[in-house]
């Protein structure tokens, strides 16, 4: 499990968009399990599952319809689609909401149904941009255990986040980026080099120090 870290505006989403075929890079290449994303997009995309942003989901479909759509677009046999749809909905605790329109879901549910669309074709690589954002603790734990068993089964996860504790707990490889450049990358231990990930991150990215007298009026005594 690979964690991509960076402050807001560091270019995490841009990087992932270029790696998944949404944004054509000016130069450079992107390979997924040996397949060039920009030369052989169909093969590369078949090998990966990407968590879409909420705005990227066809939200006037029900959760079940959206999953079926996602499976059929990926040319899966309809029987497999139906079976996996039911299993995914059950695993994510969404069977009750399966026949509601995605537009009416809460943001946590939207995240979960998005994850399901990324998983339905059993990809070798899973790309997740901020997977735990606005997810409640219970659903977060569900997602975490799904990801862990996915990785244990040989899958690779690339996730972006700015929550250090989460990345430190889940990932074995990390990269820290800021202003569009990777500042450090490697295994978790290599990157944090003895110190905590939080401290290392702040050292690399730079921290905005509060001056001595700033916000003095906030101190009431």
């Amino acid at each position: 499990m690979f964690g991509l870290l960076g402050p807001n505006g560091a270019g995490k989403t841009t990087t992932l968009s270029m790696a998944t075929g949404l944004l054509r890079p000016d130069s450079g290449t992107a390979f997924v399990l040996g397949r060039d994303v920009w030369q052989d997009p169909v093969a590369a995309k078949a090998a990966m599952g990407v968590l879409p942003e909420a705005s990227q989901l066809f939200d006037r479909l029900t959760g079940r319809e959206l999953l079926r759509y996602s499976g059929l677009l990926r040319q899966m046999p309809p029987a497999d689609v139906a079976q996996r749809t039911d299993e995914l909905l059950d695993a994510l605790g969404m069977t009750d909401a399966a026949n509601k329109l995605v537009v009416d879901y809460s943001s946590g549910m939207t995240k979960k149904i998005g994850l399901a669309t990324a998983l339905i074709h059993a990809p070798g690589l899973l790309v997740l941009d901020e997977p735990f954002e606005s997810v409640d603790p219970v659903s977060g734990e569900t997602i975490r255990s799904i990801l862990k068993s996915y990785v244990a089964g040989g899958g690779t996860v690339v996730l972006s986040s700015h929550v250090m504790e989460l990345v430190e707990n889940l990932c074995d490889h990390v990269a820290i980026m800021a202003e569009g450049r990777v500042l450090s990358a490697g295994t978790l231990d290599e990157v944090r080099g003895g110190a905590g990930l939080q401290q290392k991150f702040l050292d690399l990215v730079g921290v905005h120090q509060l001056g001595e007298g700033s916000l003095a009026w906030l101190r009431s005594s």
């Binding site: 705005s55 990227q56 989901l57 319809e65 996602s70 040319q75 026949n99």
Partner: protein, 525 residues
Amino acid sequence: MAALFVKLQWRQTFNIATKSVWAIVGLVFGILGAFGLMIASFFGVVALRVALPEIVPTAILLIGALIPVFWTVSSVMLSGQDQLAAEKFSLLPVTGRQLAAGHVAAGVFGIGGVTALVWLVAATIGWSVAWPAAVAFAVLIPLTLVNTVLIARVVAIALARAFASRALRDVTSIVLMLLLVTVGVWAQLAIGAAAAVGESYDQFGAALNVVAYTPLAATYGVSLALLDGSMVVAGIRLLIAIATAVVLFWLLERMLSARLTNPVQMRGGGTIKGGGLLERLFPATPVGAIAVRSLRYRRRDPRHVMNTILMPFLPVFIMVVYSINDVVGLETLPYLGLFLPLMVLTVVGMDLAYDHANLAMHILAGVTGRDDRAGRALAIGCWAVPFAVLLVVVPTIFTGIWDHLVPALALVLPATLMVLGIASFLGVHLPGRAPKPGTSPFGKGSSGGVQAFLLMGLGLVAAVVLMLPTIALVIAGIWTPWFDWLALLVGVASGIVVLVLGIRMGGKALDKHFPRVLAAITSES
């Protein structure tokens, strides 16, 4: 405090309007349009005052009573985007009374208020048929404005909770859109009704005298009463106008106070039942899935519902209006079905833009351009092709003139097929812009932008050129009727060829430009 609200409203309007070059262009045209409206109403009243002074009071009262109605309808339509929604202030130490005053001030000194003010000044000139009436009206201008704003605000806020339901919002936006599109017919009916009423002018005047007692037009009623020399009636109406302001302000204050602590929460619709039929009708392939999704959207997304209704509705509408008004001979009616391909051209051409960011899902799933194009064309074709036939056959049955059935069909059906193909290709290069998912069908981008016009022009030229052999045969059919049948055959065959080629070429282009198209249709957020 109230001044702050006025500033806040203008600042927000300005910020939204200057977000991009196109928004500025839109703003300029908007201002020019409003300006034109003001000038027109101004000179309209003045001209009426000079030419037909006896009907001026009636006209002013009628228009005056309609302004709050119009304002209320637009407030209700836009209530989802209320810039001064009470919820936004719930963390600030403000009271309902301050908010209410702010809402009134922002309304009076907003774009609508200024426009209305110009009208009221013009109306004062109109009242100058009698000086007491004009003076009273001028003095009451502030009260008129405040009442107009209050009526609209109170109704919009009272309905806000009902409109928090997405299902209700969807239905209303569709109904309003249809009313707007057919406004010509309603106007014609209204003029007809007015003409009928005109013959019994006394009754009409009596009805208006009743309207003059209502909050909608009480201030106008004061002047009307002074004109008739009835001081008592004028006094009653003045009391009604003042009471309206007091009661409505009190109501507004109550409702805003309530909303400060009990915000309106957006609600969704219920569950979707059934729906397996479409899935069984289409193959379980990417093309079939895209067609099913596309057809579902045509039922569930108000923006698509709009287009789907308008596509066959517009030709029918034109046929009805033309035949009522004797614009064309009855035998020409089936040919008016040619308005269908015109609609299909834009609907197919802009289908990508309507997806907005959702298109990313097709890209991420590795959908090929050809599957994308074919699925969409299939869905729209399922709707358009039967209508192409119906739009020719039904008017023929209706008029009983059968000579034009085959030639009209030989034009309308192939043109529809061709346009499906042409737009499948052109739409990749000129995706245009559409209102975002979940926003009003009238919203930003509903005109499609410059690209949509280009698409329309290029598509039309292409369709006419590609139809030339068929058109030639139809013309030959005027002298030798069996050429009509040949035209139908050649037309449908060439239509299918163009459709297939359009999907293939469009698909190839889309494979190459998927990311660029995505960037283009999501660019102006």
